[in-house]
């Protein structure tokens, strides 16, 4: 009866706050999940759980601790309860369990909601869900144990939270300390928390539970020291002197943190070789490494510098990121690497390029520049297509005359895409899926065609306006700037710039694109792409070796010739993480063959094991198109 009375009392006292808090938390989780669902492939639904564990779940624990424990001690009502006929530790044990139960409910609900919202590609199995659930619950136990212990420290608790936060920040961010290697940080590893599917991190779970146990026992012991006199002495509101001390502590911590961050900042990376062409304002450096390539380096440096100068003037950008290009003659001509951690660094081989290949390279470069300029914001999923379309548009016709050959190839690609997927709305709304399914060059061509139509129908300024709207400003780090960024939907922002409803724009753009078939050259290019679809099977041969088999089927009745395609069909495959982040398969693992219908064209004794996730692409290459066309793409879990 006493236990029930205590529980009912706590429930009655905190039910409204607990209910509102739970609803608020779950609403935030649902909103984030919904937003995530809208942004195909942007991240796994379980990333939301990790985000919640790192952001608002600790806050919820803090609020619950404050209500359940701190308030009871500060107001002295504990003294009333301790005179009732009950065991001395029972009220605290019940409070501990109640808080843990509440937070566990929230964390389990979050995981289940995320599991429910996960896409098919997430491959949410029972064991995998249990693994996420276990890690989430263990972290929840840790949070509650810390809050429980600190809540019993009365007026010292705020100082303890600040010191703990500083310690956590120090461990998590200070260079030289790899916090992800030990618990509890290892449990929250940004890769493993979501991507680890099979291996249970027993050591990290055990370590985290041990830390939780230490905090829990410390809390209970604290209440026993001096028969509770220590806790009683601490259970006082903070005095002015405490606040001043806390302020000094916080200030000192911030000063120390700033100093540490200052030390952490490093000088930008520069090419140290003498064989570099350097141009300034905007900064372009081209590393050529051999005097034989100096001329080509000079050409590409000048071309890039001119293009960036015009881009800067057109978009009114005060400063552009530093651009560094490194020539690697051994590379394939379309094998371009780029990184945006420190300006834009591109490594590629441009020695054998024609003008179309140059445009590909320039487009990648511009993509990097605008992405870096916006702190990665330009790649935000709902308007990633604007970035892809604008960069290619800028390279092709933004600062020079559009080459008709380029235009024809791009249009033929775009037409092929809409032939395969007629719903332009879907193509744009699920942009990463489009890039995944049809490969990046085709998606880029499609986006370019949208920009070209916008220019054609409304003038160049509208294209520039669209870029200004989405591709120039980094999102601020404050909550306010985040809210400002989200106060208007991307759709409304696009509609405001282009002056029409987006669906109407899609309709007109698609109609214009269809009209381009009238150009015989475009149509002739389009006709070189065979009407084939790919199919992939995975099995094990008689000797137990795993095999991947790919075949092609005709998707047009006219396509009957088994050797219809004059080009080559290539199966590319590679390991894939467990979730569908953006993925571009390399040609490290590929099988090249003639395109024939109805039989297994590619039979590969695979290197994969059961449980591996593999990305498989079936590309078509011919002499007409500079880059492959993707006939089929699939994410496969090896059984």
């Amino acid at each position: 009866m006493a236990t029930v009375a205590l529980l009912v009392k706590d429930l009655r006292e905190h039910r409204t706050a607990a209910l509102l808090l739970a609803l608020g938390c779950l609403a935030v989780v649902l909103l984030l999940l919904a937003q995530n669902a809208q942004s195909a492939y942007s991240m796994s639904a379980f990333e939301i759980v990790r985000f919640a564990l790192l952001s608002f779940l600790p806050l919820v624990a803090l609020i619950i601790g404050n209500r359940l424990i701190v308030r009871e001690y500060l107001s002295g009502t504990r003294l009333y309860v301790e005179a009732l006929p009950i065991g001395s530790t029972l009220p605290l044990v019940l409070k501990y369990l109640l808080g843990l139960l509440y937070l566990s409910f929230l964390s389990v609900a979050m995981v289940l909601l995320a599991a429910n919202q996960s896409g098919i590609a997430d491959d949410v199995t029972r064991n995998y869900t249990l693994l996420i659930l276990g890690k989430t619950w263990v972290m929840t136990i840790l949070y509650w144990s810390v809050v429980f212990c600190f809540s019993l420290c009365g007026y010292l608790r705020i100082a303890l939270y600040l010191v703990s936060a500083a310690l956590v920040a120090l461990l998590a961010y200070y260079p030289g300390i790899d916090a992800d290697r030990f618990p509890p940080f290892a449990l929250m590893d940004d890769q493993l928390f979501v991507f680890e599917r099979d291996s249970v991190p027993w050591f990290d779970i055990g370590g985290t539970l041990l830390i939780s146990l230490v905090f829990t026992l410390t809390g209970f012991l604290l209440t026993r020291v001096g028969e509770g006199s220590v806790v009683e002495r601490l259970a006082k509101p903070m005095t002015r002197r405490d606040f001043v001390a806390l302020g000094v502590l916080a200030f000192a911590g911030l000063a120390l943190w700033s100093a540490l961050l200052e030390n952490k900042q490093r000088e930008p990376v520069e090419f140290s070789s003498q064989q570099v062409v350097r141009l300034n304002d905007p900064s372009v450096a081209v590393l050529y490494l051999d005097d034989a390539y100096k001329e080509s380096a000079q050409i590409i440096a000048t071309r890039t510098h001119d293009s960036l100068t015009k881009l800067q003037a057109t978009l009114g950008l005060a400063q552009l990121p530093r651009v560094k290009l490194a020539l690697i003659p051994s590379r394939e001509k379309h094998d371009i690497d780029y990184a945006t951690a420190d300006g834009v660094l591109i490594s590629a081989n441009w020695l054998e390029h024609d003008s179309y290949d140059d445009a590909i390279l320039d487009s990648v470069l511009m993509h990097g520049v605008l992405s870096s300029q916006t702190g990665g914001r330009a790649m935000f999923e709902p308007y990633h297509w604007v970035l892809d379309g604008f960069t290619r548009w800028w390279v092709e016709q933004g600062d020079q005359q559009l080459d008709s050959q380029h235009a024809a190839e791009l249009l033929a690609r775009a037409l092929w895409v809409i032939d395969r997927q007629p719903l332009a709305h879907d193509l744009v709304q699920r942009w990463q899926l489009t890039a995944d399914q049809f490969s990046y060059p085709s998606a880029e061509a499609l986006a370019w065609s949208a920009m070209t139509y916008l220019e054609h129908s409304q003038g160049r300024d509208r294209v520039i306006a669209l870029a200004l709207e989405f591709l120039t400003q980094p999102i601020g780090s404050s909550l306010l700037s985040t809210i400002q960024d989200r106060r208007e939907s991307v759709q409304l922002r696009v509609e405001r710039v282009i002056g029409m409803e987006l669906n109407e724009f899609y309709r007109q753009w698609k109609q214009w694109l269809e009209e381009q078939r009238a150009d015989k050259f475009v149509q002739s290019l389009r006709d070189t792409i065979p009407a084939l679809a790919g199919r992939v099977d995975s099995d094990t041969d008689a000797s137990g070796v795993h095999r991947l088999q790919a075949s092609y089927v005709a998707i047009s009745p006219a396509t009957t010739d088994p050797a219809i395609a004059p080009g080559q069909c290539i199966m590319k495959h590679d390991y894939l993480g467990p979730f569908d982040t953006e993925f571009e398969v390399t040609d490290d693992y590929e099988d090249i063959s003639d395109c024939t219908i109805g039989e297994a064209v590619h039979v590969v004794n695979s290197v994969y094991s059961p449980g591996d996730r593999v990305f498989i692409a079936l590309d078509y290459e011919n002499d007409v198109f500079h880059q492959p066309l993707r006939l089929h793409a699939e994410r496969l879990t090896i059984q």
Partner: protein, 316 residues
């Protein structure tokens, strides 16, 4: 003259026949660090009586009550309640005790109705009808938040709750602290009336003499953690007397009368307003049984119970 048997703890006279006790503390010690709060406290409370537990602030009354309630534990000594050791069954014993604390730390968000729903879960002998009756008698609003109650109302509510548990022992720890005189008198009348009606034993802690005079059958005076008196009020009142003599007539070392040294102790002596004043404490029956013949120049000074208390406490 045969000297009566003495109580070891108090150094004063013990009851002639051992009576049954509801609660007893014998040679209880309790320290907080280097601070000795209770230093051999002993007392006994008999069934049905109102026992006044008297002492100055800081004398150790509240610590003694916390020990009695089993909230804290003594360092040494024995505490028995209802004939059993407190530590052997603290929950069961508490269920038979009604407790009114010095400060009413009830949940301010609760109404008396909600509080009673909460409290009844802890007491198997909870009497809802009595609770309602007392609420009505004390004129307490059942649906008003306790946070809005005055100190007196909170004390009445606490007493209501304590009495509604049908306690065999009612422990009141300075329940009238902070009350105005009218509210205090009203509260004491209620305690007297209700305990008389129930026949429950009452342990009433206070530092106010008039409260003790109003309701206590027996008292225990605690000072510096020790019992300096345990017994009825009248013997105490009759055992202490003050005399004075003009300074010019005072012979150092002289006594007001012809008393045998072993029958008295000097509680206090000193000069006041040109007279030498001496307060003496006798064996309880001395003042009642002897007709005191005063030496020349000495005169008897009237003492209130408060004067007696102060003298006893000051000499401890």
């Amino acid at each position: 003259m045969n000297e009566p048997a003495r109580n070891d703890a108090t150094g004063l006279l013990a009851p002639e026949e051992p009576a049954p006790v509801v609660l007893s503390l014998s040679d209880v010690h309790k320290s907080f660090g280097s601070l000795h709060v209770l230093d051999g406290l002993s007392l006994a409370v008999h069934p049905g009586e109102v026992f006044g537990f008297l002492g100055r602030n800081g004398a150790g009354k509240s610590t003694a009550i916390r020990l009695l309630m089993g909230i804290t534990q003594c360092d040494s000594g024995q505490i028995n309640v209802f004939g059993e050791s407190l530590q052997s069954n603290v929950v069961g014993i508490r269920q038979r005790i009604g407790y009114v604390a010095q400060e009413q730390n009830m949940y301010p968000w609760m109404t008396p109705k909600v509080l009673s729903q909460f409290v009844r879960g802890f007491y198997p002998r909870w009497d809802e009808q009595r609770y309602r009756q007392l609420m009505n008698d004390f004129d307490l609003p059942p649906k008003r938040r306790i946070g809005t109650f005055s100190g007196g109302m909170k004390a009445k509510l606490a007493l209501t709750l304590a009495l509604s548990t049908r306690p065999e022992l009612l422990i009141l720890d300075e329940p009238t602290a902070g009350m105005d005189p009218v509210a205090r008198r009203e509260f004491l009348d209620l305690v007297r009336e209700q305990t008389m009606k129930d026949g429950a034993t009452t342990f009433f802690s206070t530092h106010l003499i008039d409260e003790i005079e109003a309701i206590a059958d027996r008292i225990g005076i605690v000072e510096s953690g020790r019992t300096v008196y345990g017994g009825e009020l009248d013997p105490l009142r009759n055992s202490v007397a003050t005399w004075s003599i003009a300074m010019s007539d005072y012979i150092p070392g002289s006594l007001p009368g012809e008393f045998a040294r072993q029958q008295l102790c000097v509680l206090k002596e000193g000069q006041r307003q040109g007279r030498w004043v001496m307060t003496l404490q006798f064996s309880q029956n001395v003042l009642a049984s002897y007709e005191i013949v005063l030496n020349e120049g000495w005169r008897h000074e009237n003492m209130s119970l408060e004067d007696v208390f102060i003298a006893v406490v000051a000499s401890a």
